[in-house]
Every structure is written in C-alpha cells, then in structure tokens.
Symmetry: C2
Subunit: 451 residues, 2 copies
Amino acid sequence: MKPSIPKGTRDFSPVEMSRRNYIFDTIRSVFGLFGYRQIETPSMENLSTLMGKYGEEGDKLLFKIQNSGDYMSGLTDEELLSRNSLHLASKFCEKGLRYDLTVPFARFVVMHREELQFPFKRFQIQPVWRADRPQKGRYREFYQCDADVVGSDSLLYEIELVQMMDMVFSRFGIRVAIKLNNRKILAGIAEAIGQADKMVDITVAIDKLDKIGLDGVNAELADKGLPQEAIDKLQPIIRLEGSNSQKLDTIEKVLSGSETGLKGVEECRFILDGAEKLGMKNRLELDLTLARGLNYYTGAIFEVKALDVEIGSISGGGRYDNLTGIFGMPGVSGVGISFGADRIYDVLNQLDLYPKETEGGVKILFLNLGKDEAAFSMSAVMELRREGIAAELYPDEAKMKKQMSYANAGNVPFVGIVGSNELAEGKVTVKNMETGEQNLLAIPELKELLG
Amino acid sequence: MKPSIPKGTRDFSPVEMSRRNYIFDTIRSVFGLFGYRQIETPSMENLSTLMGKYGEEGDKLLFKIQNSGDYMSGLTDEELLSRNSLHLASKFCEKGLRYDLTVPFARFVVMHREELQFPFKRFQIQPVWRADRPQKGRYREFYQCDADVVGSDSLLYEIELVQMMDMVFSRFGIRVAIKLNNRKILAGIAEAIGQADKMVDITVAIDKLDKIGLDGVNAELADKGLPQEAIDKLQPIIRLEGSNSQKLDTIEKVLSGSETGLKGVEECRFILDGAEKLGMKNRLELDLTLARGLNYYTGAIFEVKALDVEIGSISGGGRYDNLTGIFGMPGVSGVGISFGADRIYDVLNQLDLYPKETEGGVKILFLNLGKDEAAFSMSAVMELRREGIAAELYPDEAKMKKQMSYANAGNVPFVGIVGSNELAEGKVTVKNMETGEQNLLAIPELKELLG
C-alpha cells in the first residue's frame, strides 16, 4: 500500500513550517501590538450555523461530517431511494468544517456577548476547508489570518487597520500599495447620475480603463443601459487622476447631490489624512475600482497589492454593518482585515526575503566518536540547551562521512568534535561549516560563540 | 435562532488563548532546543490511511467526511436499503479527520522517505478529533503535542527525551515524577517465571499493590491462573523497593534466566544513569507497574505524573520498533513522547502557575477626550507600537466611566490621559492602574516606563 493524502491538502516539511511560522508569528505580533487578542473556535460547527451563509455555491463547498453511530435510522425507504444527495446530507450530517473565520466569529460574538467587552478586538489564525476543485495555488485546507473589531463605528479603527497592514508588510520587507475605497462613494456615484441600481456595472466598467481604454469603458456603460447623460456625468470619475486629495475634490463635485456619496468622501478623507499623519512606509491610495465583496461591505474597503510580484491581492478587508444580524444580534458594526498567508508565502519565496533564522535547526551538531566522548559531548549539549542554544549529538558512532552528511543536510552552522585529545583537555574542537575554520574551545567559550 | 457549537468542542477566549499559547510556546521552544523540527499534516487523511489502525473501537470513533458532489451514485437499491451504516459510510466517505498524530506521522515518513535525513527528529502540535462520548475533561477536538525520532535505535534518544520532559516541566514550575519502565523487563519477568503469556495480567496485578495489599495481589495472580511456584518467584518483584539501582539489582537476579529481561535491565540502567549524570530537576524513577500501550511499545516506556495535583499522567511515551511497517516501510525504530496540553492547562490553573505576562492585552490604553486630543494620542500610540509596546486608544469620546470600565475589563496596567493641558504641553498623564499613582510624562519617558 502506497500512502497518499487527499487532493488539495498538503504536508508541511520542517523548512516550510519555519517559514510559515515566521509569517504567522510576524502577523500575530503586529496584531498584538495593536491590541487585538486571539481567539479560537472549533474546526467543526453545526451545519445550521454554516448553511445559507455563503450562498448556494458555498453550501455545496462545505465539508460535511457524517453523524457518528447509526446515521441511517429514521429514514424512510422513499427518502433513501430518492438519492437526493443534498437532502440526505442534511439527514446524515449535523456538523461541517469551518468554511471561513467570519461566520464562526459572528457566532462567537453572539454566544459570548455577555462576557465580552465592546468594542471587541479579536484576531484568529486557523485553517478553513472548502471542497473546491483543487488547482495551482488553491487548496482544500488553508489558513486564514483575520483581525476584526466589532461594536464600534469609529473611523479610528480604519486608520489603525491601515497602519497595521503597513507595519506587517514593512516587517516582511514586501513593498506594497494599500488601496482604499468606500462603498458609500460607489453608491453615491450611481445615485448622483440617477442610476442607483447600476452601481456594480459602473464599478466593473471603470475597473477596465487600463485594459480597454476610455472609449471601451464608455461603450460598456452604454451597453449596460446607461443613458448618454449619465455617461457624460461619469467622465471626471472615469478619468480620475492626481493625488488622493485631488481625486477626492473631483469626486466631491460629482457627488454634490448625494448625501451618501459625500459621507463616503468625508470618511475617505479622514482615513487617508489620519493614516498619512501617523506616517506610512507604503503607498496608500484611493482606488474607486476596488469592489471586493461589494454586497458585504458598507463603508471602507481595503486591498493590498505587492509591487514587485505579479500576484492577486495579499490582504484586504473593510467595514460591515450587520455581521451578527444573521444570529439575531442586529446593529453591531465592525471592520476587519485578512492576510493571505499562502500568497505571502509565495511572495517571500519569490523575493527571497526570509530571514536567515527561518532556516531553523540546531546551531551545533556534536559528532559521536566513541562512548566516553559521546558522554562528554552530551553534557556539553545539555549545557548549551540550558542556555537556550539549540544543539544535538549524533546518536551513534557511525562513519565520519555519514555523520558529516547528516550535518550538511541539516544546514548546521557549526560542528563540535570531541576525540580523545579534546576529552583529555575537557574542550571541544568547533568547526565553522561555512568558512571551514576550526578552533579548540572550552565550554564557556563555546557558549559565547553560539549564544 | 440561538447559535451553539457541537458538543465536545470548545471556543477559546483571549485569556484562555494566552494561556494555551504559553503552554504550546514553552513546549515548542524546548523541542527546538533539542533539535526536533516541526511538521504539519493535513487535518483530513484518506480513510484508507486511518482505518484499521486504532482497533475496531477506533474505526467507529473516526470522524468521516462525506464525499462532495453526488456521493450516492453507484449504490444499488439493495445496498441503500440494507441501512448498513458502516458499509455505507465506506461508500459515502473517502476521508476522515486525523485521530492522532502518530499514524499521520508514519504516513508522512513513508511518503517523504527520499527527502528526509535519518535519524529524523520531528515534532507536531495539532488538533485531533475523536467521536468519543463527551464528558468532563474529554473533548471531541483537542490538541496533541508529540516529539519523535525515527530511524535510530540509539538509547541516547531515550536519555534526551527524559531530559526534555524534565526541562518542559521545570519551565512550567510543575513538580513531577518521571517514571520509566521497559517492555523487555515485563516480558522477561513473565518469561523467567515460565508464564510468558501472562505478562499483562502480572503487570495489572502488581499495579494494585497500593490499593489491595500484597495478599490481594497474590490472590489476583492465582485467580489469573499463575501456579504457586511462579507467584513465589514474583515476590521480590512485587515488593520491589529502594533506589533505582537497588531495584535494578533485584530485578536482575530474578531475570537471570531471561535474555530479553536482562537486556531490558541494561537499557534501563543506561537511561537512568545517563539522565542522572546530566542533572535532573525532577525525580526519575523506575516503575514496573507502568504499562501504557503495552502492545505498541517495545523498549522504554515513559510516564509523567504531577506531584501536587490529583490528575492522570500529563506526558508519556516510549520506544516502538515498527511504526512505518503498516505503510510498507519495515525496520524503522523510533522513540517519542507526547504532552497532554489540556491536562497541563488544568494543572497550571489549579497551581496558579501562569506567568503574569500571559494575561495578554495592551500595556496602556489612552482615553479619548476629544478630536485633537485623540489625534495626539493616536500618534503616541503608534510611536509605542513601533517600539514593540502594545498600546491602544479608546475609539470614541465616550463617558469617562465607560472608558475606564473598558480599561478595567481589559486588565490594562496603565491608562494614558491627554486633555487640553497635556495637549498644550505635548505630554501624557499616565495612571498606574494598580497603585493609582499619576505622572505627567513626555513620550520618551513613557517609552522608558513601558519598554
């Protein structure tokens, strides 16, 4: 029997784990500096919690867990023979695997509302599962890293989240553009030109300016049923240029008739000004073509693009107004962002940005040259470990070549050699594996070298 | 709709997460010092990998995942109407959730044998799932923390693992007894008294000495079918007392006729001597009644008991000889240990041993006393964060009482107050929430206080 793993899932090797931990630890530590606190929710939720929250397609992509015991009992012959897999799944299964971190978070807030202090700032780094067709870069099990604050509509949180994305990517050394939009501006534009129901069409068309040019965009707008008058009014928006504040001034003029739109302009101005005043390492730009999850977000919309690698967005988020409404707790406004760990992993790999420490492994491997030598080495190894220095001893008196190839495979920076001479002197010959240099050191000197 | 979570599963609050992270981080860091490297495997494995590995009872306790798409196709009416839930599960489901970390690790070693360097030292900290009846302290989703080395039969690894358990629990501040036994000694005893097939009965009976006394143990042995002569020979073993080396001397005499048994004595002596010579913070004791997973272990057996709390074992492990044989890769010896995170959590709680830092949360909360004051505070907050000091600003100009109750609920050690005076001076009034003391500080002084 040749073992395998389910398609769309992955094993992570020690080197991959060191890199993934570097990503998660960096994000976790920034979340902590900003006062977000970690929670975890169970991998399995009741299907009643999950179903109907991700659209019809989402329901199909949920991994469902078969009830234990006699899951067939109580089913009529007719039901069984109907072979209606969706209906029967609801009989066979009561639980499903987490599909994202948002719905479990909403469920958490509602269940624990009495214990929580609002505004509640939480982060969550856990795997999610989707029965998607596996393909390059798309997995059936992958991690999400989300930070959200619920129970406040203060725009200070939008500023904070922009700062947080800025700090995360500057710690990684990834140059990014952080893009900002606002659902209220998009709604306002559609409203101001008398086409309130065409918001999505307008956003999608404007997004194509780079690809199809101004005439192409205008043709598409006409194609979607916009009258010429409305298209004329849109021209300053489509050809929006200049600094963030110049753009906002232009938009403000177009939106003078829309209360919602002007509110959106005001919010954007506050967030852009606030974030810039606090100092940004990365570019922050207003981008009206940003439309992720339009139906979900109600205010600010964020997205982060890497500047030096061709890849989709590596972080994003926004403000939503009714996260917990689905569980009977209305009126809770929230705002949050999410980091795409798998894409960040790829970007760091492509740009070769992992710090050297993420190679992991021990700092020194002692060779095993005999029983007494090994006993002495083992006590040196334990002394180093007690000082917080990762160290190990080769377990057998194997051939030198075999021991050295173990050291090389482990990328060990130093090798410790204790033969009869070293044993007599109570010292260790230390070989620097990069330079080849060898020195005879006493244990305290060794600690100093490696500490 | 009132949301809930599946029975036997748990949400973890921020405080619980801080404590759990403290446990996992401590264990992870000790694993790293000893040269064990982290891997992760998918939450779901093919059922063909899992089935038959945990006994008949285990097969029933596997959580099975329903195939996506039309999982009913290809089934005859007869099959469906048989309502044979076990048979049909094998048709409906190809995947199951990880039941432990050992079988996935064996599968990992076999699948990646060409890329791995042996001996391969790995650790793994991930959740596992079991469809057990939930009860106090037993969950359907819980974490395991395992460290194993495969591909070497060197006893130096047994010594290393004993040292590792010793270091983990001394870092936690939990006083423990680390117990050692050896399957070869148990087999040798049964063999030496001519009752090779009664090894388990003998071990179980001896284990009851404290509860039922010597007469009780002897009666039970007779009851199990041991002849009087064999029981007589067992007396020195049942009444085994003294230091580890005195015990080994006694056992050695009884086992003089059993090659296997003498090998076990020699192994124990090597491990006990070796570990003691390296220095132990906790008691290490030979305990012949230790019999965990008898059928699985082939050499050393470890178990750790907390001395100051009544609770089952909080760590354990041993040597096994054929972990990967089930996947067609025979002859790979290994030895490993596992830490029980949930029980360690309970022990640390009961003994109140969590370091103060695990309270988590920010070091300082700035109150929000107005627009300009908030802008100044926000830039102070960002300066602190850039220095690695967790800080936040209350998001709205709410009533003082509300803001202070938020600070109290978050266990914030300091509160920063910026009113019009502070704003004019460019300073912050800092209140120590424990002592009530207040000081007016410039930002660099504030960094020094909190850094």
